[in-house]
């Protein structure tokens, strides 16, 4: 039974890794920072989630990968793994008692130790910590012994409770906005985290729901569908999405509408850059330039300050902003037509910086306001209806996104979309097939600049003022990351990427200083697990995951080797 013995060693390893992760999280301070953020009021804090999750996961993994399926063995393995995790933490705390590690590891504070030892006296606390770790290990292993249905329901319920507790503040903000309906939900929450009755209700409801769902037998496939049914299947979800889209700002209130507006502007720009990078394969790192051009053009033409010209309203100035942005797109496109890949990226990067520096320059200060920017930019209005707040502006942004999304979809499925793809694949061959490189590439740049310019105009009117600081290089990188995360060339991917990349950090404001740490870790994890993006284009999925068949290559025929013939090669 050599393999089983070695598996015990493996389990010890797993346990130590779990403990090490828990220790790391403790030492960077995240555990203590969330020590008072309760998931369940008075019982269980987010800090404890951070400590015990690695131990739980490692115990679960140890038990799941075990060669033996014997129940007792599994429980022992889980317990061993948990024990090891606990030992790591205990050693850390004990070490701190002997030598003062705190001069280096500043987060190893008495408060942290108190939290880890359940506020008990040290010796007893350490003992309880070990026992707790072992029990947790055994429980997570026992989890494996449960039927899949119960296991699924339990894990969903627990996950829901953690999420609800963690985002308690945001959820309560939304709920309080719901008029008297709020009383139906507010009692679920406590001052921090969920209330005890809330936990019970959520556990029962969510657990029950998943238990029921997991138990349902799959429906027999309906063979023939009428055309009407097919239409319903095709358009039904779209209609639901549309209605939700329309109601979102009303449901979520002004705080979230602000986030939605930001996400929306990024999605709009993402759709534009998706044409340039995703469809046509032109790596543009200076995309922020068109955003700035759109915003500043709108600013210059609509501001009521003395620096402005013409003092137009929003509707008259936006077309000008778009034309200027498209023009800039073509101007950038012309010199870089011959460049590919890295070289193109560098030149576009430079272009982005040129625009930013121009905006900041003394030379253009009389027009663009230098570092003070332009204030008092006009708000769009129809009659007496002013798109003055975040909720109203949302609808304007939504229209922009729908327009951009529609144009993207249509272009992608047309022969222009194919031309872009062909240029991306092999520029020389694409030209030899009759594709006009100049016109096709410039069209991509122009479409990208158009959407970005629109995003800029909406941004300017949303903030009411423009400053050079808003148009730094990092904006280009963010939009590019958004596309990569969503899935290069995928239109739904832009939406998902936008929500994930722009929306998530805003939601993660819960995590205060740790937000970029978590964000970065999530990005790295995502690119490792799903390199093709969250919602990849069907083709990309094929590229990355389809087994590439060996192309049978046969040696050139040797028919020529007989003497008397003229041998080629």
């Amino acid at each position: 039974m050599k393999s089983e013995t070695s598996y015990w060693v493996k389990t010890v390893q797993n346990g130590l890794i779990g403990g090490a992760i828990a220790m790391l999280l403790s030492l960077i301070g995240i555990v203590l920072a969330f020590g008072k953020t309760y998931i369940i009021i008075g019982l269980f804090s987010m800090g404890q989630v951070f400590v015990f999750t690695p131990i739980i996961l490692e115990s679960f993994v140890s038990a799941r990968k075990a060669p033996s399926k014997n129940a007792l063995t599994l429980l022992l393995l889980g317990g061993l793994s948990g024990l090891m995790g606990g030992v790591v933490l205990v050693v850390m705390i004990a070490l701190q008692q002997v030598i003062n590690l705190r001069s280096v590891l500043i987060n190893l504070s008495p408060d942290l130790i108190a939290l880890l030892t359940f506020k008990l006296p040290l010796a007893l606390g350490l003992f309880v910590l070990i026992i707790a770790a072992v029990v947790i290990g055994v429980i997570s292993a026992a989890f494996l012994l449960l039927p899949a249905r119960i296991r699924g329901a339990l894990s969903q319920a627990i996950l829901t409770i953690v999420i609800l507790g963690l985002f308690r503040d945001l959820i309560v903000t939304v709920i309080t906005h719901w008029g008297f309906v709020r009383y139906a939900f507010l009692w679920l929450f406590a001052l921090s985290g969920l209330s005890i009755p809330g936990v019970i209700v959520v556990f029962v409801v969510v657990g029950g729901l998943f238990y029921w769902r997991l138990g349902r037998k799959p429906k027999p496939v309906v063979k023939a569908r009428t055309i009407q049914q097919q239409r319903l299947i095709r358009w039904g979800p779209m209609a639901v999405l549309g209605i939700i889209g329309l109601l979102l700002p009303v449901i979520l209130g002004s705080y979230f509408s602000e986030i939605l507006d930001n996400v929306g502007i990024y999605i709009l720009m993402g759709l534009g850059l998706n044409i340039v990078v995703g469809f046509a394969g032109l790596l543009d790192l200076g995309y922020v330039a068109f955003y700035a051009i759109g915003a500043y053009t709108l600013g210059v033409f609509t501001t009521s300050e003395a620096v402005g010209i013409w003092h137009l309203n929003f509707w008259a100035a936006t077309p000008i902003a778009l034309i200027v942005a498209v023009f800039a797109g073509v101007i950038l496109g012309l010199p870089v037509l011959r460049m590919r890949g890295d070289y193109l990226a560098i030149v576009t990067l430079g272009f982005g910086e040129i625009i930013r520096i121009l905006v900041l320059s003394d030379w253009l200060k009389p027009l663009l306001g230098g570092s003070e920017g332009i204030q008092r930019i006009a708000q769009p209005s129809i009659g007496s209806f002013i798109f003055g707040n975040q909720q109203r502006l949302y609808y304007l942004i939504l229209i922009g996104i729908i327009l951009a999304g529609f144009i993207s979809v249509r272009l992608k499925d047309s022969h222009l979309g194919r031309s872009w793809m062909a240029l991306r694949e092999d520029e020389d061959v694409a030209q030899a097939m009759g594709i006009n490189k100049v016109a096709t590439k410039l069209l991509a740049f122009a479409m990208g600049a158009l959407f970005s310019g629109l995003g800029g105009a909406l941004f300017a009117t949303k903030i009411g003022s423009v400053y050079p600081q808003s148009f730094s290089f990092i904006v280009s990188i963010n939009i590019l990351s958004l596309i990569i995360i969503g899935g290069m060339g995928s239109i739904p991917g832009v939406f998902i990427g936008g929500l994930a990349l722009v929306g998530l950090p805003l939601l993660l404001s819960q995590f205060a200083d740790f937000r970029y740490l978590i964000y970065g870790a999530a990005l790295v994890a995502m690119m490792l697990v799903k390199p093709e993006g969250l919602s990849p284009e069907a083709r990309r999925r094929l590229e990355l995951h389809e087994e590439i068949k060996e192309v049978p290559y046969e040696e050139p025929a040797s028919v020529l080797k007989t003497p008397g013939e003229l041998g080629g090669r």
């Binding site: 529609f406 047309s414 009759g434 020529l560 008397g564």
Partner: protein, 265 residues
């Protein structure tokens, strides 16, 4: 009547004359071969004809129209299409998409049409897809339209590349070593296929080929290049007897002995 005429075409790379004063005249409906040892300038000559290189001297006429220095896409629009020595398909596009890209010169609808999807655009697209599927059948790839080009077996990739070239309905088709890497059977199929292209579609074919058996059996006219210079021109039997050609291929010593031996055609 000559469809393609090359007059004293010269292409230099730095000090090297890759193609040097090459005269050539391809008759309509002919199968015309260019042969020569490696580095003789055959592919460079192809690149001059298709607009990738602009020759320093000389001119190239297509149906009496000077096409020297036109961009590759203009040349494609005028009816010249080509394949490559090392297959250059759009690897991550499906077979049918590859063909559709080849149809580019015949698609008229523009940006506005693509966005609004007016009836004319829809009709054009539908006809293009039908035509592409028909063409897939012609090159014996029926039912494989939705496979990514890179996942097709080697022989099918070769045929798909020719299919893509045919999609633009060319008057003149340039094939760069179409039988490279094929076994004798596949080679014979390819030879028959090339003949069919000429006989059924009326396309003039200009061909670079290394397998002598292929060249001799299929060509009506042959031009031999060596170090960028045309050293011989004529029918297969004339070329086989030409001592200069034999010398270029096998070296001076072999030439004297071999030039008398008849070669099967």
């Amino acid at each position: 009547m000559a469809i393609l005429v090359s007059k004293k075409v010269t292409k230099r790379f730095g000090g090297l004359e890759a193609v040097s004063k090459v005269d050539l005249e391809v008759k309509e409906h002919a199968i015309y071969s260019i042969i020569g040892p490696n580095g003789a300038g055959k592919t460079t000559f192809f690149n001059c004809v298709t607009g990738f290189y602009t020759p320093e001297e000389g001119e190239i006429l297509l149906n009496d129209r000077n096409i020297t220095g036109l961009s590759p896409d203009r040349v494609a629009h005028l009816g010249i299409s080509r394949t490559y020595q090392n297959i250059r398909l759009f690897k991550n596009m499906t077979a049918v998409e590859n063909i559709l890209v080849g149809m580019q010169p015949h698609l008229k609808s523009g940006v506005i049409g693509a966005i609004l999807r007016d009836p004319r655009t829809i009709r054009e697209e539908k006809e293009a897809v039908e035509e592409a599927n028909r063409l897939l059948g012609y090159i014996n790839l029926k039912g494989m339209g939705d496979l990514l080009a890179k996942n097709l077996p080697y022989g099918q990739q070769r045929r798909l590349e020719i299919g893509r070239a045919l999609a633009s309905k060319p008057k003149l088709l340039l094939l760069d070593e179409p039988t490279a890497g094929m076994n004798p059977r596949e080679t014979q199929d390819m030879v028959n296929f090339i003949r069919r292209l000429r006989d059924e579609l009326g396309i003039t074919i200009l061909l670079i080929e290394h397998q002598m058996r292929v060249v001799m059996s299929i060509s009506e006219q042959i031009t031999v290049l060596d170090f960028g210079v045309k050293i011989a021109e004529g029918t297969p039997s004339e070329i086989q007897k030409n001592p200069q050609v034999v010398e270029a291929y096998l070296g001076r010593g072999a030439a004297s002995g071999l030039s008398q031996t008849p070669v099967e055609g």
